[in-house]
Every structure is written in structure tokens, then in C-alpha cells.
Amino acid sequence: MRPMTRTLPPRRLIRSGAFAALAILACPALALAQTPAAPALNTGDTAWMLISTALVLLMTPALAFFYGGLVRSKNVLNTMMMSFISLGFVGAMWAFIGYSLALSPGNSWIGGVSLAFLHGVGLDPTGAIIPLTIPHVLYMCFQATFCIITAALISGAIVERMRFVPYLVFITIWSVVVYAPVAHWVWGGGWLAQMGALDFAGGTVVHVNAGVAALVAALCVGPRRDFKKSGLLPHNVPFVLLGAGLLWFGWFGFNSGSALASNGSAALAFSTTMLAPAGTLVVWTLLDIIRSGKPTAVGAATGIVVGLVAVTPAAGFISPMNAILLGAIAAVPSYFGLIIRARTSLDDSLDVVAAHGVGGTVGALLTGVFAEKSFNGVADGLLYGNPHQFLVQVVAVLAAIVYSGVVSFILLKIIGAIMPLHASADDESEGLDTSMHGEEAYVHTGGSTMIG
């Protein structure tokens, strides 16, 4: 590998070397005809990344079902809208400025504005922060889907009481001032990338980041008025299972697509994404049985998501067998995190902190334990004689926690000073579907009259 790739983001480290070899094998004429500096467009990579991008985009509607099923029927549309709306506002913001700040040349902390409004983001594999074999515009879209779901993840902590407009303002700005810099640190050649932090598909950037923002948001917005007074039960558990299933499906694009190529690294990430949640699901179910005698469906859905979260940073760095182990280990802190959270006064309604914050942290740290150079060609972890990697992972996680926590807090305080974050008592008790959106999820047949 060329020395300059040392400073490249890990998700790129693997594929640049491997792909160069592949390209030369596959089309020697092309390799001879071109200078080594200009990477060619690869149709196999492009096809896989087109599919991956669509898969990751599907995760946001999937999240809407996962979250929507977990709330009461009077708030299901509001909850699902909190995910769906990210597709619009955060998606557009990404094209305007987010992409450039995250993934264009800048300093160690943030990218520049050279790619703002997609200036120079074309159909050739050139002009991106890393060498590509897919159209630059496709790389931008793939990264957009990550930003969209990360912002949407936060909503789980504040559903059933946060007003919709301040939420919208919050995630739109958050995607620029929190997500973009953290993505730059890890994937845009920023300081964590230079330190050699491993984050294959976003354990730190996506899950720790969203988990901490969720914790801060739950604290700033405050608990639901009937929190701890009534049973705030899921209204549609089949939705939860549907959402978890679709999330897993989409996650193959999330993790396996993060290889940015149709190659062995993608296949490794695919296998770990297959196996880690299996490990988590087994342990989660056993914990359920030991604790209450009954394996729960909501527990199974949650376990799958925790496994997916945990394997995200590790996906292309660890062996498939270690993925099962990683998933199994990750079940324990999140499982008990959920139970402990329920005893506190923190109304993190859908347990974003326990699932994504804790799961993402455990995954990022275990990446530093299980990383295996014979699989990833980049770095070994603690288990394979490189304890330094573990320390780098600790720094990366702490950096994301501190930055996301502080900036999310300031942002919510500013928005809160301009408009109330928390819905009024009447709106909250009526349900946010009718009070915020003027719609009901499950409409009664009779008694409605058309106006005008």
C-alpha cells in the first residue's frame, strides 16, 4: 500500500490496494492504457454501490416502522414522520453543504466548501476525498443515506412529546454541525483517521454519535408527562418486527457497501453483518428466558438492532467467527442498559442510548480487540497483538461522545430559546398525530364530514 493511504479513512484503506490489484487482473489493457493515478470506473463496483445506496436508504423507512410500532397509536404517525422527514431535510442539506464539510479536503477537523452544492461532483470517479472506482455522484448519495439515518435515529429518544418543528430544525442543523465534522474526522481524512481509528461503516460516526445526541435530546426536551404514570406500551409489535427485519436487510448495504467495492472486503462485511446479530439474538433471547421465562418479540427485534449496531464499526475488519462472538458480547451491556434505564428518570423513550450509544461503543471498542490483519489487510487488534489499536478506538469513541454531547446540547438550548421543544399538555395528551399533523393513523369509519 502506498504511504499516502495511511491518512486515508479505513473504509478506503482496504479497498484501494485490493481493488488496484483486481483491476489490473480483470482488465490488463485498461491498466496499461491509464496512468496509475487515475482510477477507472468499475462496473461491478458501481452496480453494487447503486444497490447498496438504495438498501441503506430503505433503512430510514424501516426505522420508522421499528419506532412507530413501539409507541402508542395516537403518536405513530408523528413518530414515523420523524424518520421520514429526515429523508427530505437532511438529504437536501447533505447535498447543499453537509457532503462538502464531511468529505472534501479541509483540515483535521472539518472539510472545506469546495464540493458545496455538489460543485464538481460528477459522473466520473474523480474529485472525491478518496480514490473511487464508482461515479463520484454515487459516492455522495451513498454517504447521504448514512447522514439521513443517523439524524433519524435520534428521534427515538424524544418521541411522543417533542414538537415537530423544533425537531426538524434540530436534525437539519445537527446533520451539518455534528454529523459532518465527525464523519470528516473518521472518513474524510480528519484527525481520527490520521490516528488510525477503525470504523468500517460508522459505529462511532453513526451510532455513538446518534446515541449521545439522543441522550442529550431526551434530557433537554424532558420526559413525557405520563412517563412512569401510565404504561407507555408498544401499539403494534408486528411493525417493530417488520422494521427490525427491514433494517437488517438494509444493513447489508450499510456495512457491505462501506467496502465501496464489489470485492472480498464487501463479502467479509456481509458475512459479519449476517452473523453478529445472530449471536446477539441468541444471547438476548437466552437472557429474556433466564430473566422472565419468556422470550419476547420486542426483545428479539431490539437484539437484532443491537447486533447490527455493534458489528457496524467492525464489519470489514474481523473474522466471521469473531463476529458471532462480538454480537454475543454486545447483547449483555445493552440488555442490562435497557433494564437500568427503565429504573431511572431518563425518558429515552425507545432506548436509543442503550441500543445505539452503548451498542455502538461496545462495537467500536471490540473492533480494536477483534480486528485481524489477515482478514482486513489494515490492522490487528488487541487479541492479535496490537493493544495500541484498542486505545485508538477508546479515543475515537470519547471524542464522538464529547463533541456530539456538547454541540447537541448547545444546539437544543438555542432552538429551545426560540421555540418550545416540548408539546403542550393538551397536544401531548390528545396525541401528536392529530395535534401536530392533523391526521390519524387508524381512522374510524363514520362521523367525518368533508369541509368545502
Binding site: 395516537k74 405520563d226 404514570k229 401510565s230 395528551s429 390528545e430 392529530t434 392533523g438 391526521e439 390519524e440 381512522v443 374510524h444 363514520g446 362521523g447 367525518s448 364530514t449 368533508m450 369541509i451 368545502g452
Partner: protein
């Protein structure tokens, strides 16, 4: 013996249940219903058309109590379910001839 039938706001059910528990009322039957009294519905917009949804979700709570506690029960329900706004609901009291326990076949001595 009286049947006390209350139609209350959905978010007041727990308060009513707690109030009835304090009076040692042993059971209750709860039904999700829709209806309207003087409370106007809300406006909904679907696909560009505006609708007035006049039948709003309410919860009907039925308890059967002995004559000597019926006033106390009504007072407890009214206090627990009241917000002071239009749409708080109604309480109806109906006479009950007698009741039977299905498991034992015995006539109820409420």
C-alpha cells in the same frame, strides 16, 4: 345494585381506575368507544381535502356497585376524570336487577 357507566377521556382511564381502587371497587370493564357530545371534533387533512372528524376517541368504563356506595363512586369518577374543558365526558347510572358469578354460578351480593 347500580351500573355506573362513565365515558371519559382516554388519558383519564388510569386516574379513574386508581380512584376506584381506593374505594375497593373490585373490577371494571373498559371499552374503547367513539362519540361526541358538545365537543367539536378536530380538522384533518388527507390528500388535500379537509375533513371534520366529529367522533372522537373516548373510553367507556363500567362498574357495578351496591346502592350505598354509588354516590361515592360517582364523585370519585367525576373528580378523577375532570379537566374542566368541554369533552370531559358523562356518567350514567342504571339499575341492575342482579348479577351472577359465572365460575361459581352464585348470585352476586355486591
Amino acid at each position: 345494585m347500580k351500573l355506573v357507566k362513565s365515558i371519559v377521556r382516554p388519558n383519564k382511564v388510569d386516574d379513574v381506575r386508581d380512584a376506584l381502587e381506593k374505594l375497593s371497587i373490585p373490577g371494571m370493564t373498559v371499552t374503547e368507544v367513539r362519540g361526541h357530545g358538545r365537543q367539536k371534533g378536530h380538522t384533518a387533512i388527507y390528500r388535500g381535502k379537509e375533513y371534520n372528524v366529529s367522533l372522537l376517541p373516548k373510553v367507556e368504563i363500567e362498574v357495578v356497585v351496591s346502592d350505598d356506595v354509588v354516590d361515592e363512586v360517582i364523585a370519585a369518577i367525576v373528580t378523577a376524570a375532570r379537566t374542566g374543558e368541554i369533552g370531559d365526558g358523562r356518567v350514567f347510572v342504571l339499575p341492575v336487577d342482579h348479577g351472577y358469578n359465572i365460575r361459581t354460578g352464585e348470585r352476586d351480593m355486591v
